[in-house]
């Protein structure tokens, strides 16, 4: 071996060792539990177990742990898809996506070459019909025992921007399937521009404008009151919001400025899962005291994460008590709606188990009105009627 070749080989092996020591270091450093970027729990290194080894689970867990715990794995995941963008692909995409959905994954797409990550419009299938019809049957049982109100949030799952019509006309479906006495309204979307106004670019939730419109509709539907007006529209310019849609498909180049309305609500007491406290982080945000970490879920940080039970007590003894049944969509409007009532109880799906009895819950708390705030995903959830049996 000539000396040049020898040194080249040394150089090569040194570089290779450098790369591979990062892998070793990943094995010995303290493992990370969660990824803010991907909004999920990370796999940690599994302890050897003979039974798990025999059925291959140990091997899979170790491979996943290596992938999750590798140094810089989060930034690799966030940047990998950005790097592999080629001009040819982009120009063809641009030429074909006009007035069309361009698919980014099995369910997610962009419409009209836009930068809003939307769901591809779904058609009603028999399975969907069976679940929705079963749920509505159970909700209907409440209708004749108490004042019930339903508010449906039209999301991109059920609305086709190509035809500006429902791909799955849920409002019509609810009216057809729902029995008894009830009041119904829904967030109306007429076209893609409406959608852009009322929803986030990178998240499935409604934006501050969408949720405010929803709040106005709901209050008008239940009490006829005038909606409270925001005192300020605040833009948090030093942070970006990467919502769940961009995280689901690892498209981290899709992001947006986070904005919200500020309201001056009367003093009230809030109970989160039975404990008196503060729900959400609105005060902190308006005081500019928020986490400036990339990829954080600002919708949840600002409006609050999903508790099992939330109670707002505005001490308006002359007003009704309200029960809201919903999912994370209502987090943005619960407090606003509650300001029109005496006590407002909010139950998320997580609260309800097999022993839960909604009639008893209503009776014990002197609840006068029940409001469902639902979207497509709530209606097709197989456990959204738990506790409504009998």
């Amino acid at each position: 071996m000539n000396s040049n070749k020898k040194y080249i080989n040394y150089c090569f092996v040194m570089l290779v060792m450098l790369v591979f020591f990062t892998g070793f270091y990943s094995l010995i450093r303290v493992p990370k539990d969660t990824s803010i970027v991907e909004n999920r729990k990370l796999t940690t290194f599994p302890l050897f177990n003979y039974k798990l080894f025999l059925n291959g689970e140990y091997q899979n867990a170790l491979e996943n742990a290596l992938s999750d715990q590798f140094i810089g794995s989060e930034s690799i995941r966030t940047n990998y898809n950005k790097v592999f963008k080629f001009p040819f692909a982009s120009s063809v995409k641009k030429s074909i996506c006009k007035n069309n959905y361009f698919s980014l994954s099995l369910y997610k797409a962009i419409y009209n070459c836009g930068d809003y990550l939307v769901e591809k419009p779904k058609k009603m299938t028999k399975d969907m019909h069976d679940i929705m019809s079963e749920n509505i049957k159970y909700y209907s049982k409440l209708n004749n025992t108490i004042d019930t109100y339903y508010y449906f949030i039209t999301t991109s799952d059920v609305f086709d921007f190509r035809t500006n019509s429902y791909s799955m006309d849920i409002p019509k479906y609810i009216k057809k399937e729902m029995k008894g006495n009830y009041t119904f309204d829904y967030l109306k979307i007429n076209n893609y521009n409406d959608y852009k106004k009322y929803f986030y670019k990178t998240d499935h939730h409604w934006s501050y404008k969408g949720s405010f419109l929803g709040y106005k509709d709901i209050i008008s539907m239940i009490t006829g009151d005038e909606a409270k007006k925001p005192v300020e529209e605040v833009s948090f310019d030093d942070i970006y919001f990467n919502g769940s849609s961009s995280k689901d498909i690892k498209m981290f180049n899709y992001k947006e400025k986070f904005k919200a309305y500020k309201f001056n609500l009367e003093p009230h007491i809030t109970y989160v899962d039975g404990e008196e406290g503060i729900y959400g982080g609105q005060d902190k945000y308006f005081n500019k005291d928020y986490k400036r970490i990339n990829y954080i879920n600002h919708y949840a940080e600002f409006y609050g994460f999903n508790p099992k039970e939330l109670i707002f007590d505005f001490k308006h003894e002359d007003k009704d008590n309200l029960l809201i049944l919903s999912n994370s969509y209502s987090n943005a409007v619960d407090e606003l709606i509650a300001s029109h009532f005496n006590k407002t109880y909010v139950l998320h799906r997580e609260y309800k188990d097999g022993n839960f009895d909604i009639y008893q819950y209503i009776k014990n708390r002197n609840i006068n009105k029940v409001l469902f705030i639902v979207d497509y995903s709530y209606l097709i959830s197989e456990n959204s009627h738990v506790g409504m049996g009998v």
Partner: protein, 466 residues
């Protein structure tokens, strides 16, 4: 365990290299055997005993053949060995296929056993057979140390996806082999080339091919989409399998073994005969030496020679999988080779090389279509759509499958490097700047490959099922 897995790259490989090189020479084979068994059991914990059984039985049978060389027992033992090895292969790979076909043909209801195919059984069975047959032929000395024989059969670089390494190739290396830093580095480089081929090219073009061919609407796709899918599969299978062979050859070198080449730019072949001299060389030479020549090769009547060719290619097709499309694929090549050898070769020789290349590449692609689509009715529809230039709207497909456009660049890179463009740089290979530049590019691409694996990219290995 996959070579292109983080577990292999960051735990298994560094560990085996470290322990191997700090060990005394006399323990090196034991180290390799131990790690090879761990490697195999990682993916197939339950089937490790099947492989061990195969090793023990064939070890004993080879000893009997050697001991009773002058008696008829030698022949009976060889026959028993062949029945035993092919029998195992039959049970684990072909029994369900035969049961299904017997049920269909005779309207019977024989219970179909859901047997999972043990990884690499087709490869290690052929290696074992070549060893026993070579002992019988007295081409190699019988191996009296079962651990050495075990090391040969279970040696992890070539255990699960080849190349099929003959015992005669590494007989001497198993007993005594040279280790030097230069060979180790060359092996490492070769391993990296294979890793890059597999992770960056094969995995990405696989996304195109699999999305299209696995779609339920494949029978109705536009011919352009189908051609892109077919080209993608052609590139995928080459980079996947030759990448694996590169990794195996590289790993072999790192442990002091020299395996024979398994691919030699097969897609630049200028005839089907030429293609099979360049593609999966270890398999085609195995069939040549252990089936074709014993049957009489071409030193017999023309009818017998045609029969020999048909048998060899039927077996080659069937070796690849227990499915009719593989048999058809084998017979397709038998017919092409017969046509070439009987009529076409003299005509082809007069044509310009470019035409011969196009002729071969086209036929090879048709072959891969048969190979890829197991459902014969879909295969028929796809084939008709391609040749009739079936023209449906391409836009809805592109709108639904963004990965096609995103990965098209890998298809183009794959096509470029299926030609020996690297050889253009051969004249610089002794220059320091060239070697340094090559190493930096190699390491950069390895880092990108690792990033791709961390990103949980698609990572299928085609030849694992064989």
């Amino acid at each position: 365990m996959l070579f292109s897995s983080l577990t292999f790259l960051f735990i298994f490989l560094p560990l085996v290299i470290f322990i191997y090189y700090i060990s005394n020479d006399k323990y090196k084979n034991y180290i390799l055997l131990l790690f090879s068994l761990i490697f195999y059991s990682w993916g197939e914990p339950k089937y490790i005993f099947l492989m061990l059984l195969s090793i023990v039985v064939n070890y004993i049978l080879a000893l009997i053949i050697d001991k009773y060389r002058k008696s008829k027992l030698k022949v009976y033992t060889l026959i028993f060995s062949i029945i035993f090895n092919i029998g195992l292969l039959f049970i684990f790979k072909y029994l369900s296929f035969f049961t299904i076909n017997i049920n269909n043909m005779f309207n019977m209801n024989i219970r179909i056993l859901n047997i999972v195919l043990p990884i690499g059984i087709s490869f290690y069975t052929f290696q074992i057979l070549s060893y026993v047959i070579d002992v019988y032929r007295n081409d190699v000395k019988v191996q009296k140390n079962i651990f050495v024989l075990g090391t040969y059969i279970s040696f992890f670089p070539q255990l699960i996806a080849g190349p099929i390494v003959r015992y005669s190739t590494i007989e001497k290396q198993l007993m005594k082999r040279e280790h030097n830093f230069s060979m180790f580095c060359d092996g490492l480089r070769r391993f990296f080339v294979g890793l890059i081929k597999k992770v960056l090219i094969a995995n990405n073009v696989a996304l195109i091919a699999d999305t299209i061919f696995n779609s339920t609407a494949v029978s109705n796709y536009n011919f352009i989409i189908l051609i892109v899918a077919l080209l993608s599969y052609t590139i995928q299978i080459y980079y996947d399998f030759s990448g694996y062979s590169d990794m195996a050859i590289g790993l072999g070198k790192m442990f002091g073994f020299t395996f024979l080449e398994n691919f030699n730019y097969p897609y630049i072949a200028i005839s089907i005969t030429d293609f099979w001299r360049r593609w999966h060389i270890s398999l085609s030479t195995w069939f040549r030496d252990y089936v074709y020549i014993p049957l009489g090769g071409n030193r017999c009547s023309k009818a017998r020679w045609i029969f020999n060719i048909l048998v060899v290619w039927f077996l080659t097709g069937f070796w690849h999988g227990a499915s009719w499309n593989f048999i058809i694929w084998g017979m397709y090549y038998a017919i092409l080779l017969l046509i070439e050898k009987l009529f076409l070769s003299k005509f082809l020789e007069k044509l310009p090389k470019v035409i011969r290349f196009i002729y071969t590449f086209l036929l090879v692609n048709i072959g891969w279509l048969i190979f890829r689509i197991e459902d014969l009715s879909i295969l028929k529809n796809v084939f008709i759509n391609i040749i009739t230039l079936h023209n449906t709207d391409i836009i809805p497909f592109l709108l639904e499958n963004n990965m096609l456009l995103d990965n098209l660049v890998f298809l183009v890179i794959g096509i470029i490097f299926m030609f020996p463009v690297i050889r253009l740089f051969d004249k610089y290979k002794d220059k320091v700047w060239y070697e340094l530049g090559r190493d930096f590019i190699l390491i950069f691409l390895v880092i990108v490959s690792i990033c791709s694996l961390i990103n949980n990219s698609y990572n299928p290995f085609i030849y694992f099922r064989f």
